[in-house]
Symmetry: C2
Subunit: 135 residues, 2 copies
DNA sequence: GCTATAAAAGATAAAAACGATCTTAAAGGT
DNA sequence: ACCTTTAAGATCGTTTTTATCTTTTATAGC
């Protein structure tokens, strides 16, 4: 239960590698893929998601590549994970405003809520900068 | 990310229903399935897993059915979830003694460890008795 | 403008996991 | 013997995951 997928692993390793390069330096997806040991085309998709969320900037054409969208110290692990895996949500119940279709009978609901908030809190407290530092 | 599957939902609803019946009373899987709004044959598999873990006792033949394997107050939500979904493990890294195949480079590892222990702690602190009480 | 480069976008596809059903076997009561 | 009820295993369709390939778009350099 609760396993991070390959996609999530690649995403984390990829953005950490990018954060370890000189800030502002253009980095090719091919280089990131090699460093992160991820399939290049797959990682490209992941970085497209990152770009949409503003976690990275992308530049096409000669001399193009990726740079971080903001300082690594202001990108949290949660953002990275949610960018590719969707919101952290241990139970479908938590969808659409927390209204469980089973009504008040759902006594488990508050427990999942607690799990969710704890996990979110932990992942939000870790920045990519911290993860990249311990090279 | 981190979603509980149908199987997990059925499992929880099923065992809660069982816990709400008279202790020791034999309850048919068909009855539990109806109450839990779960496919009977699917729920039967789930209860087989429960039986193997000792969470329930099963009795075959006429007058057979299921009873709780121990008092509901001594069955935790974690046990129920893990019985059907496997161990709570946010990242493959945590497998085989925590040895990450990427070596010391894996700075994310301690974070997952923390997530895991927090979730385990929350789910372990909730008993089926509590969940069943608030009928 | 042309060309080479590099990401974006979309189509496709194999493999695994999920969700569910069906059949046969085994056990227990009458 | 016969009926009931769970156990176990085979099967099967759907969805998700993981990955690749192709086409398009943007950009820099000539």
């Amino acid at each position: 239960m609760m396993e991070l997928t390959r996609k999530g692993e690649y995403a984390i390793r990829g953005i950490i590698y990018l954060a370890q390069q000189q800030p502002g330096k253009m980095v090719l997806i091919s280089e990131i893929a090699e460093a992160a040991e991820a399939p290049q085309t797959f990682l490209a998709k992941i970085f497209q998601s990152f770009a949409k969320m503003g976690l990275v900037n992308s530049y096409r054409g000669t001399g193009g590549g990726f740079t971080l969208g903001r300082p690594a110290a202001r990108i949290t692990l949660r953002e990275v994970v949610e960018a590719v895996e969707g919101p952290i949500m241990p139970n479908r119940c938590l969808l659409d405003g927390g209204a469980c279709d089973r009504g008040e009978g759902c006594t488990v609901h508050p427990v999942w809520r607690k799990v969710q908030s704890q996990v979110v809190q932990i992942l939000d407290s870790v920045t990519i900068e911290e993860l990249a530092r311990a090279k």
